[in-house]
């Protein structure tokens, strides 16, 4: 999204030439100047400069829609507003499933099942709309080399045996999952930038990045000076690019994150606490009243990242083999927790008696 050139804001040719002599070529440069500066560079009176400002702003400002129009558009194709996770309890609480058009984060300690969840969602996205899928391709950016195609086929075959009854169907499903292995932050960012064209050409309906945390934490050591801002910049740029893609094409984006520990004595980064559900020892009732045992855990990547994701699901261990999935942050759902196990067919929710 390069900044718009002034010529496209319908300013006159001679004005554009005059402004380019002062190195003002884009709308961004124009709007960042104060009114007095603008009068100086354009050579126009106060009133004319205000009119010019309105003209340039009109070229840059977003279009208005009323909330009613948005609702009507949603109602026209309701199935395209969510990607069902095929976990009934979770879907109900989330009003349909993983929302399209926003970022969803799955975070957990190692081994809880983030990659399994991502593989399961990839299968679901390729299913036809009648079965709750999005009938589209999947872009899977793998930074940990944890994706297993065999597991993908196993989940598909066991979860939907009636649909994937032939090898032909399995192969066509695997053909629509595009896997990219990126091992550095720079290459991940480059890949995200190139996704816009891929989404259109391959009819992609789901983007998965597994995992953001591993590649960021490998490269940025937050104890070194300057790295914290670099890291935040990278994360913020990645988040805004992904949000743009999610909203522009109305597709869900799933990201995975890791868990980090923080020590209670010394620099207690309480800021990383997004919600009580994030503080895993709290939700297990281990400590309370502000007392933190040393080695408490919370989601990694810091505060700014937590602001950027719209939905956050946390996986954690319960009594093996049962684990727990929590909805920690969601604009439509309250805190909820479900128990699940990881089977051959992927995630299986344990139905509680109260259901």
């Amino acid at each position: 999204m390069a900044p718009k050139k002034l010529r496209r804001a319908r300013l006159s040719q001679e004005l554009c030439e005059r402004l380019s002599r002062y190195q003002i070529t884009t709308c961004q440069d124009f709007l960042c100047l104060s009114l007095l500066d603008l009068m100086k560079v354009t050579g126009q009176s106060y009133r004319n400069v205000q009119k010019l400002l309105c003209k340039v702003s009109l070229a840059c400002a977003p279009k208005m829609q009323t909330a009613y129009e948005m609702k009507v558009r949603r109602a026209v194709n309701p199935s395209s507003a969510f990607l069902s996770t095929s976990l009934h309890g979770l879907d109900k609480v989330l009003h349909g499933g993983v929302p399209c058009g926003s970022l969803t984060e799955i975070t957990s300690p190692p081994g809880c099942g983030k990659t399994q969840f991502c593989i399961m969602m990839s299968v679901l996205a390729t299913l036809p709309v009648s079965m709750g899928g999005l009938d589209g391709a999947v872009i899977y950016i793998d930074t940990e080399s944890a994706f297993s195609a065999e597991r993908l086929v196993e989940i598909a075959g066991n979860r939907f045996p009636a649909y994937f009854d032939s090898d032909e169907k399995l192969f066509s499903m695997t053909r629509s999952i595009y896997l990219y292995r990126e091992l550095t932050c720079g290459s991940v960012l480059k890949r995200i930038k190139s996704l816009e064209e891929e989404i259109i050409s391959k009819k992609v309906k789901l983007i998965i990045i597994d995992s953001v945390a591993s590649v960021v934490r490998k490269e940025f050591d937050t104890k070194l000076q300057g790295n914290l801002t670099e890291r935040s910049n990278f994360l913020a740029r990645g988040a805004s690019l992904l949000k743009y893609l999610a909203e522009e094409f109305s597709i869900p984006v799933i990201l995975t994150n890791q868990i980090t520990t923080w020590l209670s004595n010394g620099l207690a980064i309480q800021a990383d606490l997004v919600s009580p559900a994030d503080d895993l020892c709290l939700s297990e009732g281990a400590s309370g009243g502000g007392k933190r045992e040393s080695g408490s855990v919370t989601a990694a990547l810091g505060n700014t990242w937590s602001h950027s994701v719209n939905t956050r699901l946390i996986l954690q261990y319960h009594d093996l083999p049962t684990r727990q999935i929590l909805v920690a942050k969601s604009p439509v759902a309250p805190f909820s927790a479900f128990f699940y196990t990881v089977e051959k067919s992927g995630f299986v929710l344990q139905e509680t008696d109260s259901e």
Binding site: S57, C60, A271, V274
Partner: protein, 338 residues
């Protein structure tokens, strides 16, 4: 009439020529007339006429200000202000504890800032206010419309539908209990559709779109004169990354704050901003503070901070010109913030 030529809002080149030609006051310009001016400075008669019209308008508005004519000037006595403040309404939030600490609700003509950690309920409150501002007057509302500027993409239509449905039901219950004529008439126009149609939504992806939209807001508000609430959800997000030049950021933010204050005053609207929290690393511990720096703290008149205490959400009134500092608990339910 004694206004100095150098202070007139003319094009800089023209101004420089006038000063170089020896003109000192605006009165001299007006006495010379367009033809004389064009001959002396060497500009065309049309340009001279235009310049004189600008000068005349400036001097006229100066004169009315010194004469004390109401309307164009921005001064009044404290008594007039008191009457205005008492008559003006608040936007209620349906959370009585929150309304109490705010002194009745979100005030019009002031900027209210809501800071909080992610997931604490800032967007929920904004969506609720966008619905509450539309409550008809007979139910205690303002019967206004709302502008929602979203920079983070967290506006969920489904959630607004939930809140709006609950609000309509709530008003219906009141109408049934009281059975008054104007209640029932107001309910005819207060429906889910009308509420949603009067929330004007703008999605700004970066700070340029946000700046452009705020420049265009006064015209938009003049066209839609019933707007009583402007929400900017996520004023921090577009300014927190990709900004190497911090002084530019401070200047843009200050300009934005000034424009919003002018909008709030001129159109009698409430401006609500949401801000993020950032970590400030101190010597022995790190604390959470509102983002965007110290100078931004001066922009908002009223500041609310939402935070957690164990499993309870709390709201603290941190800065207010008329209410004292206090903290209250609140919940987020299916229908509202309580």
């Amino acid at each position: 009439m004694q206004r100095d030529v150098g202070s007139l809002p003319l094009a800089p080149a023209l101004r420089a020529r006038l000063v170089a030609a020896g003109f000192q006051t605006a009165q001299e310009l007006l006495d010379t007339g367009p033809c004389g001016l064009s001959k002396e400075i060497g500009i065309s008669k049309e340009e001279a006429l235009e310049a004189l019209q600008v000068v005349r308008q400036e001097c006229h508005s100066d004169a009315t200000q010194t004469a004390g004519a109401p309307g164009t000037s921005r001064k009044c006595t404290a008594l007039e202000l008191l009457e205005q403040e008492q008559a003006q309404g608040f936007i209620i939030t349906f959370c009585s504890a929150l309304d109490n600490i705010l002194g009745g609700g979100v005030q019009l003509t002031k900027i209210t800032e809501i800071c909080g950690e992610p997931g604490v309920g800032k967007t929920q409150l904004c969506m609720q206010l966008a619905v509450d501002v539309q409550i008809p007057e007979c139910f205690g509302g303002l019967a206004g419309e709302a502008v929602f500027i979203d920079t983070e993409g967290s506006f969920m239509v489904d959630r607004v539908v939930d809140v709006a449905t609950a609000c309509v039901q709530h008003c219906q219950l009141i109408a049934e209990a009281h059975q008054e004529e104007d209640h029932l008439k107001a309910l005819e126009t207060f429906s889910l559709e009308s509420i949603l149609s009067h929330i004007y939504y703008f999605r700004c992806r970066d700070y340029i779109e946000l700046l452009a939209q705020v420049y265009l807001l006064p015209d938009f508000l003049s066209e839609h004169s019933k707007v009583r609430l402007v929400v900017i959800d996520g004023i921090a997000f577009p300014f927190r990354h990709d900004f190497e030049d911090l002084s530019l950021r401070t200047r843009l933010l200050n300009g934005l704050a000034q424009q919003l204050i002018i909008i709030a005053n001129d159109h009698k609207a409430a401006v609500v901003l949401t801000n993020q929290m950032t970590t400030r690393i101190g010597q022995s511990q790190s604390t959470l503070v509102p983002a965007l720096g110290e100078s931004w703290g001066h922009a908002a008149t009223v500041r609310l901070i939402f935070h957690w205490d164990n499993n309870q959400r709390l709201a603290t009134l941190y800065k207010s010109p008329s209410q004292k500092e206090s903290t209250i608990p609140y919940h987020i339910t299916v229908s509202a913030l309580l």
